[in-house]
Each structure stands twice: as C-alpha cells, then as structure tokens.
C-alpha cells in the first residue's frame, strides 16, 4: 500500500518536473528568439552571410522537395480520381489536389522535410561548432556568435521555407495533373477551370503561405536553439539533432491544427 502511494507521488512529481522543465524551456527559447532578433542587424547588413546559409537550407533542399512534391501529387491524383469518379465528379480532382496541397499538405510536408533535411543540418553544424569550442573562440575574438552564426541560419530558414512549400505545392499540382489528365484522361480544361473557379488566392494560397512562413520560423528557431543549447559532446549533438526533428514535427502538426482552425472556418 505504501509502495503504491509512493509510486503515485513519485509519478506526480515526475509529471510536475516535466511540466516545469517544459515551461522553463519554453521561456528560455523565447528569450533566445529575442536575443537572435536583436543580433539580426548584422545578418541583414552583411547579406552574404545569409545568402550563404540560403544555399545550405534552400538550394540543397530543392531536390527532396521537388521529388516528394511530385510523388505526393501523383498519389493524391490517383486516390482523388478513384474516389471522385464514383460520384461522377472526376473533373473535380484538380480542385481536390490543389486545395489539399495548398491548405495542408504543402506547408506541412514541406515543413517536415525541411526540418529533417535543413533543420537537422543546422543543429549538427552549430552543435559541432559548440563542441569544438568554435563558438567560444568566436566570442573571445569579440564576434558575437548569435549574430555571426545563429542569426544568418535562422533568417535563411525563415526565407527558404515559404518558397520550398510553394514549390512543393506547385510540384504536387503538376503531379496530380500528370496522373489524372495525361495518364488517366481527365479533361484538361475541366481540371484547370474547376480549380481556378474554386481556389481563391487570398483564402487558400495566402493562408498556405502564412502557414509555411510560421513553420519556417518555428523550425529554424528550434534548429538553431537545439544546436546552440546542446551538450558539447558527440552524444549531446546527436541527441540535439534527434530533438530538432522530433520537436519540429510535433510543433508543426500541432500548430497546423491551430492555424487551420483559425483560418478555414467557413
């Protein structure tokens, strides 16, 4: 009996500990965000620092985003056609593909891919710089690592993410068109005209872009934070990379629900 009570108390204490830890971390990451924003002047003034990071987080993510977008579009086209033709509205497959990509799949999947491709690389890079004392060395050379290392990576991620999500959606719609119009034989005119009549720029496209921007901020922040905050050991870096991917995925999916419930309630 006493053992049971002790177990419950222990469990509760553990939950409390986790909660306090989580809140403390949330506060910490918020403070970190402000510090990065304050240190951002340099990454905007010396734009080549940010351009360099845009290469790593943007250009190097092009391939995975393009290919994944195409495949997701192909699958959406196939499944959408299969379902819609039962109700005699196969023409609406373009609408279905476009709306699901623009509103949800584009920003979300691009965000998840971005977190695992670019986010993990950012964490690894900053974590390694911390482990090998490069950040401290920079600080001792009177160069603020937040301004020189963290801020350019953060801003590059924020800029790259909406573009990657747009590319993902565009490739997906192209994939849907390829499978339904070219392969299956849905009417080309109906595919596009139904899509254009239904999809609204301000509502569907813009909200998708806003979503991807938010995901870009969140993933970039998590990636630079985990790298900057990791334990300076090989194990610490590998844990930080895992945390970047897992936390980003969870936050993207949760935030997507929140954003959707605000944006698409009609």
């Amino acid at each position: 009996m006493n053992g049971l009570i002790a177990g419950i108390v222990g469990g509760l204490r553990h939950i409390g500990e986790l909660t306090i830890n989580g809140i403390w971390r949330l506060g910490f990451i918020t403070r970190f965000l402000f510090a990065v924003l304050l240190a951002s002047g340099q990454s905007l003034r010396r734009i080549h620092l940010t351009i360099r990071e845009l290469f790593f987080s943007g250009v190097l993510s092009l391939l995975i985003i393009t290919v994944s977008g195409l495949f997701v579009g192909l699958v959406l086209g196939l499944q959408g056609y299969d379902i819609l033709q039962r109700y005699g509205s196969a023409d609406a497959v373009g609408v279905m593909v476009a709306l699901s990509l623009l509103r949800e799949l584009g920003p979300v999947i691009a965000g998840l891919l971005f977190a695992s491709r670019a986010g993990s690389a950012i964490t690894a890079e900053i974590g390694l710089m911390k482990t090998t004392e490069q950040l401290k060395a920079m600080d001792m050379m009177a160069v603020d690592p937040l301004a020189r290392v963290v801020a350019p990576r953060f801003w590059a991620g924020v800029l790259a993410m909406p573009l990657l999500a747009a590319l993902f959606s565009a490739m997906g719609i192209f994939g849907g068109w390829l499978i339904t119009v070219v392969v299956i034989g849905v009417d080309d005119g109906a595919f596009w005209s139904q899509m254009q009549a239904t999809v609204e720029f301000e509502y569907d496209v813009l909200n998708g872009v806003i979503k991807s921007f938010v995901f870009g901020v969140v993933v970039s922040l998590i990636a630079v934070f985990e790298g900057y905050d990791c334990k300076p050991t090989a194990e610490g870096v590998s844990r930080a990379i895992t945390r970047t991917v897992v936390t980003s995925a969870l936050v993207i999916l949760a935030l997507d629900f929140v954003l959707t419930s605000f944006m698409f309630r009609g």
Binding site: E133, D139, M140
Partner: protein, 273 residues
C-alpha cells in the same frame, strides 16, 4: 627573457578572486599578477580550476567575489560592447585550436581581420601570409582545418590568435596531445611571438618541463588556491612538497593517489582470520 618592470602596474591582476559553480567552489582567494612582456604559466592537475581562471580573465565567466583587472579595467563589470572592445586586444588559443571547420586556413587567420578592420583584401592577404609565415605554415594557407595535424592546427590557431597584434594572449593547454617535436615548436612560438609582439601571455598547462623552459613566472594551483609561485629557477630549486611532486611527476604526495574513502579494511567482505 623579457624585461619585467615590477614598478609598472601589472597588465593582468587578480585580487582575492573566488569562483563557484553553484555550490561547488572552484577557486578561493586567488592573487595573481602578470606584468607586461611576461609569459606566465598557471600549472596544476586536471580539474584544479586553472581553465576557469583563464575564462575569468577573458570575461567568459564572472568571479563570485574579488577583482579581475586587465589593463586597468575590471573585467567582471564590463558588459557587451566594452567587453568586446577589450577582447579585441586579447587573443586566445583554445585547447584543440577551435579552428572554424568551414573555412580554409587562410580564412581562419583572416577572420578577426575581416571582422574588426576595414583593410583592403590585398592588405589582409599580406597580413595573413605574414602571420602564417611566422608560424611556418604559409604553404598550408589553402588547406582546410580537417587536413591539418594536431600540431599544425595549434600553430594556425596561434596565428589566428595573434592576427590583431593583441596585448595579451591566453593559452588553454597549448601542449595537450602534441608529439614532442610539435610541442617544442609551439613552445618556442609562444615565446617568440610574445617577444615580437611585445605582448603578455598567460598559459594554462600541466606540462611542467616545457613551461620551465619558456616562461618568466609560474603559479601552481591546487584545490582552487595558489600553492606555489616563482620564476623557473626558484621553482626548480623549490623544496615545496607539492612543487616537488608536480615537477618530478610522483604518483603520491600532497596530491594523494587515493580519492577520499573509508579505509578499505572495513569494506572487505572476506575477513582474514
């Protein structure tokens, strides 16, 4: 050896410095002076707080009590830009060099120049090659840090640390993990660069023999206190038991071989009759 004028105010001066990580006291009551032109070694076993001492001087940590002064400024009270202004006149060599892995050797040495000066690329190039020449690695300018041996990386880091002609150079374990030849090279470079720049140097190390060759003054730290000090000649002649143990690398002495523990007899399960 450099001239040391004891009447001039010291460049670095620590007065009754205490430091603790949370509850754990690391340094207690450190008094230490470094005069201009001197190379000073801070020696002690692993984990005795000597690296902490270096971080206090560099302003990476703040003392819990006491004053750390560099060039007349209280490092602990400096914040933000004032601290950075001071650090621009300091160089630091980290334990394993801490070269930027995403830049070439040339760019590593050029980094402080590009960050802190408006010099033209041609002038920077000349300066960088001069610094690399001084450490004997001008030919390695195009290599990446990953392609360097430990000793070469240390020398490149040294060139980077003195790129801005600092008044004070801090060395964190400059000899750790080097073969005897590289070790001698780095030791000679520390002395030569110090004298050529008219700078002062503080190095934290446990390599007593190399240090005795090149430094002007030594401090021995144990348990967060300075237990012995003196010029190399005084240290060699010292009869202090700690210094004796350290210099002669004896396993047991004032620094005990055993971590504090109850007598082993009481723990043995098999009792002898």
């Amino acid at each position: 050896m450099a001239n040391t004028d004891d009447r001039a105010p010291p460049l670095v001066s620590l007065r009754d410095v205490h430091f603790a990580y949370g509850e754990r006291s690391v340094l207690s009551g450190i008094d230490l002076n470094v005069h201009r032109g001197q190379v000073v070694a801070i020696m002690g076993g692993s984990g005795c707080g000597k690296t902490t001492l270096l971080r206090l001087i560099g302003g990476q940590l703040k003392a819990s009590a006491g004053v750390v002064e560099v060039d007349g400024q209280d490092v602990g009270k400096l914040g933000g830009s004032a601290l950075y202004a001071l650090r621009r006149r300091m160089g630091m060599l980290f334990q394993f060099g801490a070269l930027f892995t995403d830049m070439s050797v040339f760019d590593n040495v050029a980094f402080p120049l590009r960050e802190h000066t408006d010099l033209s690329p041609a002038v920077i190039s000349d300066l960088v090659l001069m610094k690399l020449q001084a450490v004997g690695l001008r030919g390695a300018a195009g290599l990446r840090p990953g392609e360097l041996s430990g000793g070469m990386a240390r020398r490149v880091a040294l060139a980077r640390a003195v790129a801005l002609d600092p008044m004070l150079v801090l060395y964190d374990e400059p000899f750790a993990g080097l073969d005897p030849i590289s070790l001698a090279i780095v030791g000679q470079l520390i002395r030569r660069l110090n004298d050529a720049l008219g700078a002062s140097s503080i190095m934290v190390t446990h390599d007593v023999h190399e240090s005795l060759e090149i430094v002007d003054y030594l401090y021995f730290v144990a348990d967060g206190r300075i237990v012995a000090r003196g010029t190399p000649d005084e240290i060699r002649a010292s009869s202090d038991p700690f210094v004796h143990q350290f210099v002669n690398a004896e396993a047991d002495g004032p620094v005990p071989f055993h971590y504090p523990a109850p007598p082993i007899d009481s723990l043995l399960d098999v009792r002898l009759p």
